[in-house]
């Protein structure tokens, strides 16, 4: 039984990884064939780095992701603090609306924002592009920030904030000294989640970007629609390696801090 479950696990891992490895292998293929490997080359990587459209959409994606995640973190943190101090009913109503972009299919969120932007574009003569894209990204990012922060308040003593003020802190200072440090882990994970969702988003961007401001996923999409060049394989390889490195670093950092915490606890005991 044990062996059987190990074999099963290995088969599932193969199912998950074989397509990606095939993509990677063919990024080094001499010809454009997607099924016959004829010889090794780095030509596609070179072409990729000289591909203006890809580079500019990559830069665009990063700018959008940073801007959207920073704005949504600030907006979401303030929102979570405010929502937390509300009464039960308004709190429930707001949280239900906040959940909408998460529960709704992405295509519905994308289409609804597109309708809004079309409405304003017709009346205020602006065009789809960077601004609409940024607004759309902030809109689907903020709920994730709020949902990451809200549980932190449950762990916090609600009297701390008032205690700090009783002891002479101004409300602003009490906020920075007491509330913010308590919810910080939620803020950080919310920020990271917003950032990765922004980097990766295709569907909502597709409906809100117009023709001027392309992001990398949108460029990838148009590449798969045309006669495909192995540049897309080279791009996949680079993205895969980047993700792999980031996750390995994250894992090492986490296990180290876990060990440190464990040894710290050991010392105290």
């Amino acid at each position: 039984m044990k062996i059987l479950s190990k074999i099963y696990f290995a088969v599932i891992l193969m199912f998950l990884y074989v397509p990606i490895f095939v993509l990677i292998v063919f990024s080094f293929n001499e010809t454009k064939s997607k099924s016959v490997f004829s010889g090794f080359t780095l030509e596609w990587y070179e072409k990729l780095f000289h591909n203006r459209i890809i580079i500019s959409s990559l830069v665009n994606t990063i700018i959008i992701a940073i801007a959207a995640s920073v704005v949504s973190t600030v907006l979401g943190t303030l929102a979570a603090i405010g929502i937390n101090s509300m009464r039960k009913t308004p709190k429930a109503v707001i949280m239900n609306v906040t959940n909408m972009p998460i529960i709704n299919p992405e295509i519905v969120t994308g289409v609804s924002l597109m309708l809004l932007f079309v409405f304003f574009a017709a009346r205020m003569s602006f065009q789809f592009g960077f601004v609409t894209l940024l607004i759309a990204h902030i809109t689907f990012d903020v709920p994730y920030v709020i949902l990451n922060i809200m549980p932190k308040f449950k762990q916090m003593d609600p009297n701390l904030f008032e205690a700090a003020q009783d002891l002479g802190c101004s409300p602003v200072r009490a906020f920075f000294k007491v509330i913010l440090p308590e919810i910080m882990p939620g803020v950080v994970s919310g920020f990271l989640m917003a950032f990765t969702y922004s980097l990766d988003d295709f569907v909502i961007s597709y409906f809100t970007c117009g023709s001027t401001s392309q992001t990398l996923p949108i460029t990838i999409y148009s590449m798969t629609r045309r006669k495909v060049s192995p540049e897309i394989n080279a791009l996949s390889t680079l993205i895969f390696i980047t993700v792999l490195v980031i996750l390995i670093i994250k894992n090492i950092v986490e296990s180290r801090s876990a060990k440190r915490a464990a040894s710290f606890r050991g010392e105290r005991a």
């Binding site: 993509l23 937390n84 295509i107 609804s112 990766d200």
Partner: protein, 269 residues
């Protein structure tokens, strides 16, 4: 803490303008025509596409069922591994999900093609070629491949919390291994099952990328239909909004059904 309520003001404005108003616009567009008159024609026109709705629901249901069957043993053996192994193995299982989903779907395009690798390999053994791409099977495969991690993760996080001694107690009290699985583990992992189902079903029923890349032109899904009304040749935002509205209702119904099965304190997402 009362003053803190106002911290959420900027977000509340944002929420109303960019979440509530756009969804209301979808509803408004769905029940009006180009000259702004109220009409139910859009909604009734959706009936013409009943076959596409049936196909989308059917394919999404198959993909969800396959995901559940494939993911359940994976999540279970993950949750029974030694603690220090679990983190690394979970990382390995989730890693492909971090790669852009267009690239993952593109990988299957090259694998399943008529001259693709799978047909080449089968050709060596004297089989095929089989027509795999541009079939509904390829669409289901794409859904399973892309959304399998969405099923594994919630299942794993529920199973990981199942106390080992509960399982031991069941077998001590005379339960055989089948009994342990169906009378202890499955009931205890029910919240994970329901949230896994929604996390796979919602993106699967609303996708337009997977059907376009792997299904050719002949396997239109609801997502394709909506996309065509907003960005395609069939430009008709009123019909598109009506279809989106119907899609939201279908998902709402499914989620309500799912909520019946999970304990009251568990919130889906």
């Amino acid at each position: 803490m009362k003053k803190l309520k106002f911290f959420s003001a900027p977000y509340l404005v944002w929420m109303i303008v960019f979440i509530v108003v756009p969804l209301l616009m979808v509803a408004y567009f769905a029940v009006t025509n180009d000259s702004g008159e109220l009409t139910i024609n859009n909604i009734s026109d959706v009936g013409q596409y009943a076959n596409i709705f049936v196909r989308s629901i059917w394919l999404a249901l198959i993909a969800t069922a396959v995901c559940l069957v494939l993911a359940y043993p994976v999540a279970y053996s993950l949750s029974r591994m030694e603690k220090h192994k679990q983190g690394t193995m979970l990382l390995i299982v989730m890693l492909p999900m971090w790669m852009n989903f267009l690239l993952r779907t593109y990988a299957w395009m090259t694998l399943l093609g008529n001259n693709g690798i799978i047909n080449r390999v089968l050709g060596f053994v004297g089989l095929g070629p089989f027509k795999m791409i541009n079939t509904s099977g390829a669409v289901v495969l794409g859904m399973v491949y892309n959304y399998l991690p969405f099923m594994i993760l919630p299942l794993y996080s529920v199973m990981e919390k199942i106390d080992k001694s509960v399982i031991e107690a069941a077998s001590d009290l005379g339960c055989n291994s089948r009994g342990v699985i169906f009378r202890v583990i499955v009931p205890l992992s029910l919240p994970g099952i329901t949230s896994g189902i929604t996390m796979v079903f919602v993106p699967a029923i609303s996708t337009f990328i997977i059907s376009r890349m792997l299904g050719g032109g002949s396997n239109l899904l609801i997502g394709d239909l909506i996309e065509m009304q907003f960005l395609g040749n069939a430009y008709n935002p009123h019909l598109g909004a009506a279809i989106s509205l119907v899609l939201m209702v279908i998902i709402l119904v499914i989620m309500t059904i799912m909520n019946q099965f999970s304990p009251d304190d568990q919130v889906l997402i």
